[in-house]
Amino acid sequence: METVISLVPAQPVAMPPGRVFGAYVAEARSECIRYMRAPSFILPMLLFSTVFYVMFGVLLNHGDASRYLLASYGAFGIIGPGLFGFGVSLASERDGGLLTLKRALPMPPGAYLLGKMSMAMIAATIVIMLLILIGIFLAHVSLTATQMLALIVTGALGVLPFCALGMLVGTLVKGQGAPGLLNLIYLPMAFLSGLWLPLSILPPVLQNTAKIWPSYHLNQLTLAAVGLNHEPIIGHVLVLAGFTVVFLFLATRRLRRYG
């Protein structure tokens, strides 16, 4: 009996393109809702950079320093949702079996990653808008509409390389280990690329190595957005795109091999 039955054509089950698109939207929507409802997850991402900015950009500094710090805490704030939004959730979903279930279900390819990406992009945009509001109303930084828009776009897109890095970390560790490892990357990287203290007051060794960190290049973009960097930015954009491709490649390869 088994020999007869093997070559039967599959009965086609049509999935209209509209429904496939709907599945992507549903996945992104669920991903956003689930984290917006988890304050313990969302608040640290929103508060870390805004509290720092209130302390150092509003209370301790004025004028151009506040403008400069808006750019550097902006970069710091953008990185968080990428690293943590992706890394922590991927690590725990690999651990808890949700990723396995999603792979077994007919979820359209990439919907899982696109869903998390939209969540990180929205969170990064919210962080940047909060910082802009603090900058304008508390630190009295004057920003043109173009500058605000540039900063918001930098936030929404600048989070992507860090999504890819977070994803790579999420494929390397499982479950509870992820937040620790991510902080070990996040905080030193922020310091070494001049997001906390200006590079000019750091030792020359660190000044020279700052360029190896993706956060340095993001910071150059946020500085350009607020009008403090007049050099061409295309180089930094390309470096960030390169980081994204490499991290994404390594992460998807690991994910395919080890699940």
Partner: protein, 309 residues
Amino acid sequence: MPNTNVPVARLASAVKRYGAITALDGAELVVKPGELLALLGPNGAGKSTAISLMLGLIRPDAGSVELFGQDPQKIEARRRIGVMLQSALLPPTLRVGELLRLTASYYPVPRPVQEAAELAGVADLLKRPYGKLSGGQQRRVQFALALCGRPELLFLDEPTVGMDIEARQKLWTAIRRLIAEGCAVVLTTHYLEEAEALADRVCVMAHGRVIHEGTVDELRARVSLKRIRCITITSIEKVSAWPDVVEARLEGERMHITTAEAEIVVRQLLDADTQLRELEVQRAGLAEAFTELTRDAEQTPTADQREAA
């Protein structure tokens, strides 16, 4: 179903190794449309590996795997299945209704949310966040997710673990309804009564192979042993010494005897004690059959058959 011979899922000489461990060693398995196939076997027999192959989660090292005649890694094939895994931590802050709508969005013609929820007995939980549900309720929600896409084949991996008797009965009823609609089911379970209650066919696995395949009755018939129970004054030592008695023990005043020759032993019992009361003779259950089958497999493993973790 147009043709009852078309398999909905099939493993042909499937081999899967994890390092030095051979989890599946040439497993043959065919799931026919509309049937419930119970996959039984001790831990490490290869059940989970077989399921993972049919779901396209892993690829075989040798042999072939088909889902509706296609590679299971093809999304078109998986749009016709529903899945309930042994453990999956779903997002705790999403409500049951939201989880159902999300899962339904993956399928071409899903059931309405209300219908899926009613089938699985979670209609009253739609507004509740998943994380606030009890373990049994969460399992029922996972079952609702498995059936919401109107699948032609449903994979249920240990579905009733953590359920009380009433919830288990309800799930069985729901499974029977799906089968009546023409849905095929692959069920793995540790509860033999579950296989007995639901399965058309039973597939027993050991050491990465299918060692028995057939109906529940055929599996029972594989075992020649019968059970005799009675209340008698004949001593247990004397009965144990009879040549046809495999085992004899006392439970309270009642004697339990296992034998392949029930007629001979019953005659001996009646001869020895004319006052003997409450005589019962039964064919051994699925549990005995299962134990005997897997014990046989245990005693004769070939060199390359190693148990998988």
